[in-house]
């Protein structure tokens, strides 16, 4: 036990030593900056590289060692992107998919969430169990049968194929149900006494209260549908109906040497989400936190 006598345990130290304010040379700023600043810069590097490359002359991007800054800035990459590829069309497709998904999820999931939270009817608990069970099912189990069903229905290759799976989802239903359970019933009861129907109560009283939850759902759906790759990859072969993500993945095969064009495509695909993120950072973080808490 020599070590024990030489090195008092922390408790002994606390009990034994008189409380002396520890003298430390204080930095004029927190020491955490030494960790956070390099980390933050490291996380920004890929985006900075992306933007710089999209504005650089293509030839300079494949030089090694590469000059730190391009000799001059050029919009060639963007111009090539929009004149020689259907990227603009793909962006529009992605916007249509994301917008349809957000609107449909907002309506269908809040309706269902309200039904599960407030209404009493036969089969409610069984249905809700099924909804929760689907959260456990991984997408790759569903890919093959969904593909076959879509093929039979003649939905493959159309933009609809990318939209339909996003119309409603277990996550959204669960999120809205939790929200509706958390708000007091009094206002709905008062509206019912005034003779409002269930649907009127839902649209006039409940839904306006649900804005924060709807914002969370919208962000979750936006991120998922805008960035989705696996399902469009399986379901859409027709280049006219590509989403921008599918287009970029496709470029890697067909235009892998045109880094200025590739990075320009990357910028236009990522910029909308980055702008949304910067504008509504708190909502995004709430969304991430909720998607964690649901387990």
């Amino acid at each position: 036990m020599v070590a024990a006598t030489l090195q008092p345990t922390p408790e002994q130290e606390v009990v034994g030593a008189p409380k002396m304010p520890r003298r430390r040379r204080r930095l004029p700023f927190s020491g955490w900056h030494f960790f956070l600043l390099p980390t933050a810069l490291l996380f920004v590097v890929p985006f900075v590289q992306m933007v710089v490359a999209s504005l650089s002359p293509a030839k300079e991007l494949v030089q090694f060692p590469r000059p730190l800054l391009p000799s001059h800035l050029t919009l060639d990459g963007f111009q090539q992107l929009f004149s020689t590829t259907p990227a603009l069309h793909w962006l529009l497709n992605s916007a249509i998919v994301a917008l349809s998904a957000i609107v449909a999820q907002g309506i269908l999931c809040s309706l269902a969430g309200y039904g599960f939270a407030r209404l009493k009817f036969k089969g409610r608990n069984v249905s809700f169990f099924f909804i929760l069970a689907t959260i456990m099912i991984p997408t790759q189990v569903l890919m093959v049968p969904t593909y076959i069903v879509f093929a039979r229905l003649g939905l493959l290759d159309g933009l609809g194929a990318a939209i339909v799976p996003w119309l409603a989802g277990a996550f959204g239903i669960f999120l809205m149900r939790q929200f509706f359970l958390s708000i007091p019933k009094e206002m709905e009861e008062a509206a019912a006494l005034d003779g409002c129907s269930r649907l009127q109560i839902f649209f006039r009283v409940v839904l306006p209260l649900a804005k924060p939850a709807l914002a969370t759902l919208a962000i979750f759906t936006l991120l998922g549908s805008w960035n989705d790759l696996v399902w469009p990859l399986i379901a859409i072969n027709n280049e006219a109906n590509f989403t921008i993500q599918l287009g970029i993945a496709n470029f890697q095969g067909t235009r892998r040497t045109q880094w200025d064009l590739l990075m320009a495509a990357n910028v236009v695909a990522t910029a909308p989400l980055i702008i949304f993120f910067l504008a509504a950072q708190r909502q995004f973080i709430a969304t991430m936190t909720f998607s964690g808490v649901k387990g």
Partner: protein, 299 residues
């Protein structure tokens, strides 16, 4: 109308109302999740290319899976990625959350910088990975050159490709674990940490004795969550290496995607999907039971 009848009518109306609210969403969820999940299991017992008549083969597909060298390779590659990514993302999340959980100058910038890659898609991340880690002209090799170190093959080297994929995943997803840990840190009662400080505990002791025990349920949760995601890796492989070089990044989902949608072996692909589902479920239940035994209420 008798009292009895009116209750019956009201009940019927209640049921109709209820189903009117949940019906549309239920159709989508059942049609696109429950039904395909059941069908997928039936498919896993069949041999089918989508055109000819499906043939029942019982557990044949599963037997073939167990003896398929390519599949075991995919299992190994997936396991490698999981062991690289999960611990790294949990530790990074913990570290970043502790670092960001303070009011210092510039904290807004630090937070934004660490969080914003979360919005980057797999396709974008894949293009960025290929660019930054290009053996010919990439920034990574340029940094090594400046440090006087030899250039690496990165995504073109079978021994390094998975590491690069894990690094890029970490870049995009550190935000998630960080946010979860940040929320958990803010739930630690400040009286406890204050009391520890008054008793003379240093920051290191305060963390391990007071804060860490509060974080263990969250840790169990993020480990499970990240592991489930890691076992399903596909996107980033598709957008960087397409399973190469020399199959070194061919994961289970990449394997089953190839089987189902490249060689049109629907039954075999479905069996692989169900196999993965079972493994995921087993690991999840295992970790949950373990944490219950240890009294960590994560779920």
């Amino acid at each position: 109308m008798t009292h009895h009848e009116s209750t019956a009518v009201r009940r019927l109306a209640d049921n109709l109302h209820g189903w009117a609210f949940i019906g549309p969403a239920m159709i989508i969820v059942v049609g696109l999740s429950i039904f395909p999940a059941v069908w997928s299991f039936i498919l896993s017992l069949q041999k089918w290319d989508g055109f000819s008549e499906p043939k029942l083969v019982g557990t044949g597909n599963y037997a073939r899976l167990v003896s398929d060298q390519m599949f075991w390779g995919a299992v190994r590659h997936t396991a490698l990625y999981t062991f690289l990514f999960v611990p790294a993302s949990v530790l990074a999340g913990l570290l970043f959350a502790v670092a960001l959980n303070r009011k210092i100058r510039g904290i807004g910038f630090y937070r934004t910088a660490i969080f914003v890659p979360f919005v980057a898609s797999a396709a974008s991340t894949g293009v960025l990975a290929t660019y930054l880690f290009s053996p010919q002209f990439g920034l990574a090799n340029d940094m090594l050159r400046r440090l006087g170190l030899p250039p690496q093959g990165w995504l073109e080297d079978p021994t390094q490709a998975m590491l690069v994929i894990a690094i890029m995943s970490l870049w995009g997803q550190a935000a998630f674990t960080t946010v979860i840990y940040l929320a958990a840190l803010q739930d630690v009662p400040s009286e406890l940490t204050e009391a520890a400080k008054i008793d003379g505990a240093g920051p290191w002791q305060t963390f391990w004795r007071i804060i860490w025990p509060h974080l263990s349920p969250v840790t169990v949760f993020v480990v499970v969550w990240q592991a489930i995601g890691a076992l399903q890796l596909f996107d980033l492989v598709y957008t960087t290496t397409r399973g190469g070089p020399l199959d070194s990044t061919k994961t289970i989902v990449y394997f089953l995607w190839e089987k189902a949608f490249r060689t049109l072996e629907f039954g075999y692909g479905s069996a692989a999907a169900y196999g993965l589902f079972l493994v995921t479920l087993t690991i999840t239940i295992g970790i949950v039971v373990y944490s219950r035994r240890k009294n960590l209420e994560a779920f």
